[in-house]
């Protein structure tokens, strides 16, 4: 393992990796198992580990080695990527005072629990002081990192997706808006699709059984991973041999469990596919948030909502739920899981409206960082924007401003990656169809062949390559959202006859 790293640099990276792994496991445990009374004390540990991490990354001798690695033009691709990524990390952390970083991380560790409770109890006021503190820290840290003239929110965005500044995103979202909003109007005017049968009573244990089966069908390697439950589905990993994901089970919404599972499996396959040589190093993860999301969205929507995918699988589902689905044809099922319908919850959104949910968040984050809008005003702003773009207004904060965990995590600037990833997934599909008989493979249940292609062409080199370069090599052009709007127009024209 890690043959590409020099003996001088390895001990530092092993230490950084060990701390990161410990932090990841604690977070996983917090979300999936930890006793509810533990948070405050465990948060102390998380704060200390975050500071340890910062200290480890900023060891002067290590910094020197990394800057040499970055500058060395004779280095391998993996070496240079390691230098590049760590230099970025170092440059960020060296500007943040260690005590403040420790405090910030302690607050984050507590905020996750506070948010969860506030959401359950529809109590924004309980979460607001934490949100305010987190925003304050993020702004302060962003100001410390900003290059001359760089805007604060651009600093936040750069953390997740290099090159996608507000300027780029404004025009990206403008294009989406221009295409999606009129399409949604046409869809809403057309006869609606029946999906009542998805709200019958579906036993949770049986949903779980089906989902565990489905993950393996998608080629998830259960010897190197786990599937548990959490309120908000997510994927994480300790290394490429330990990739963990969650879904959730609602009795009256089996599609929520199934599509969350397929989505997370997209993330999980990516992580399981990264070379053994790279795992447990700084380049042993996905290339970027957008690239990661392209995989989850590709599996969830482009494969997972296609008729070809369900043709060999639907029988298994109806056998699991004969009473609930015995009278539903495959065609009816496919139409139901693809229906477009403005809703309040991002994670439950359909393909057509999903990016509008992201737009709301993107615009609010811009306001937070660039217009200093106050935490108090956010619920109202949120509701107004939902009304404007989606035509519906949340009745309470739990289904409004409190729905996502991201801000409790301090992840401002993350949301746009969901939309970018969604657009990239269509670009990938466009290329894949040239190389592989995708529909035929789906109909034959040969998900392993699609997976092998993804692994070979996109996954295995982890973060050694930049997302832009991966796309260039993969399909001969950089990011192009045109494929996505085309895909949507074609798909929904077919579904709704518009």
């Amino acid at each position: 393992m890690q043959e590409f790293l020099s003996d001088a640099i390895k001990p530092y990276l092993n230490r950084i990796n060990a701390i990161r792994t410990a932090m990841t496991l604690i977070e996983w445990d917090n979300e999936t198992g930890a006793p509810k009374g533990a948070a405050e004390y465990t948060a102390n540990v998380q704060g200390v580990l975050a500071a340890e991490y910062q200290r480890a990354v900023l060891e002067p001798d290590f910094v020197k080695l990394i800057r040499q690695l970055k500058a060395d033009e004779n280095g391998t691709e993996a070496q240079r990527a390691t230098g590049r990524l760590l230099d970025k990390e170092i440059s960020k952390l060296e500007k943040i005072p260690i005590e403040e970083y420790e405090n910030y991380n302690r607050i984050l560790a507590q905020a996750a629990g506070v948010w969860q409770k506030a959401k359950k109890e529809n109590d924004y006021a309980a979460f607001a002081p934490y949100l305010e503190l987190i925003i304050e820290y993020c702004k302060k840290f962003a100001a410390l990192q900003a290059k001359e003239g760089q805007k604060l929110y651009d600093v936040m965005l750069e953390e997740f997706e290099e090159g996608f500044t507000m300027e780029v995103l404004d025009s990206f979202f403008a294009e989406l808006k221009e295409k999606i909003v009129p399409l949604l109007k046409k869809v809403q005017a057309a006869p609606q699709i029946d999906a009542d049968f998805l709200h019958r009573k579906y036993d949770r244990e049986k949903q779980k059984e089906f989902c565990l089966w489905l993950a393996e069908y998608l080629d998830f390697d259960s010897d190197r991973g786990l599937i548990l439950e959490s309120e908000h589905p997510f994927t994480t990993n300790l290394h490429n041999h330990d990739v963990r994901m969650t879904t959730h089970y609602y009795e009256d919404a089996p599609d929520s469990a199934v599509f969350s599972l397929i989505h997370e499996t997209g993330h999980a396959l990516y992580e399981q596919d990264i070379d053994d040589e790279l795992t447990q190093t700084p380049v042993g993860g996905g290339s970027s948030m957008g690239m990661h999301e392209s995989q989850s969205r590709f599996y969830e929507n482009i494969l997972g909502r296609s008729e070809a995918f369900w043709e060999p699988v639907y029988k298994k589902l109806t056998e699991t739920f004969p009473q609930q689905l015995g009278d539903v044809t495959l065609r009816q099922f496919i139409r139901a899981i693809n229906r477009a319908e403005p809703g309040l919850i991002r994670t439950e959104a359909d393909e057509l409206t999903y990016c509008l949910h992201i737009m709301v968040r993107y615009e609010i984050e811009k306001m937070i960082f660039e217009e200093n809008v106050s935490v108090k005003e956010l619920p109202e702003i949120w509701a107004d924007k939902y009304e404007e773009y989606l035509g519906i207004r949340p009745e309470n904060d739990a289904e409004g401003i409190l729905q996502d965990i991201h801000w409790a995590n301090g992840s401002f600037g993350y949301f746009p990656s969901y939309a970018l990833g969604t657009a990239i997934s269509a670009q990938i599909y466009h290329q894949m169809k040239k190389d592989l008989p995708v529909d035929a493979l789906l109909r034959e249940g040969k998900l392993d062949q699609i997976h092998a292609y993804m692994k070979e062409r996109l996954h295995h080199f982890g973060a050694v390559k930049k997302t832009g370069d991966i796309l260039e090599e993969f399909c001969g052009e950089g990011f192009n959202p045109g494929y996505y709007t085309e895909y949507l127009e074609e798909k929904f024209a077919g579904l709704y006859g518009v």
Copy 2:
């Protein structure tokens, strides 16, 4: 929290605590959830964290602070205990080369998985090379730590129980042997107790339900703890607000689940009871292994196998298993769960034979460390000793030499604490009966009152006091195994009429 620690020392201790907590969680996860293919990669992380721990404990400025703390006669009890315990740890670690310690911990991390597989497949040969390596490291480390003239196995013993050298233990075990072996012979000659009904088919899920209920009945705080499953039941904790235990469920042995659960609850209550002020510090755990085991054995045997305990609880059990226990009276049940019967498995052993299992291990460990017996010979020696003391011989290594995880963990010298703890539990009972109407409280289901007494008198000060001092303060004398042999003789005379 931790007001008793100076600001100078806190950052060091927070760091040490964070690393220790991370290591604990990884071990917990390995035993209860981690994917089976993850071990090798996760072991890298464990090795690095162990070395980080060693490095943190040996920071020269920290060592200086600790030695000042230890020497300061004006310090509080908690401060001096912190100094004493850490000085012991430092003195141990500073003699071990860091690379060797890291390698050793990496081997341990792998060995746990290898042992588990070897036990399952009855394949001692697969585990033997690891065992050999572990013994080699332990001997080497013990030799580095030994004071002049100190024997290697005494070094190992001191790690777990100060003052209990081979000399002390030899006479302790001789006393047990002298009393127990003839008592066991008499019991075996008497009419045997029927326990066939305990081998009927008991649904695992229902066992689980009952066990979770029972833990709360015993006053375990589920908001500050967890109960999962593992092959080998154990208890661990991240801090006093996160105490985790496991049990196991066998369809044909509900008593195994129940008494493992009660045993582990004894450990768990101890950890939950430690003062908030002390948790997450070096004195925030149990006073010693023997003291810890006294709590688990007290709950498991002295309370848990008594008629007074089951009087209010047995109804709940028969309601859970009406078909299996409907025809069994409380009296029959009590006799069955107290039957003495030489068996091969320590963790399933009854009260009378338990310490003989420990004697076997103690004597073998002595041979390993003092007579250089080879790893190859161990299965035979094990079987011979079982034949000698218990009159039965294991038919395979899974139920012989491979049954315990301890050696895979490098925990040589740990076993005697089980016997010491068992003896201490009887000594505690002797005193408690003077202070509390124990039987009446049990019959009224007032486990919280017994628990409150334990917390107040034995638990809350953690490792601030030494085990010997705790006993002195508690009952006015030091360790005295006489109470235990008396207890056994009285109990089994009653049960078997011998």
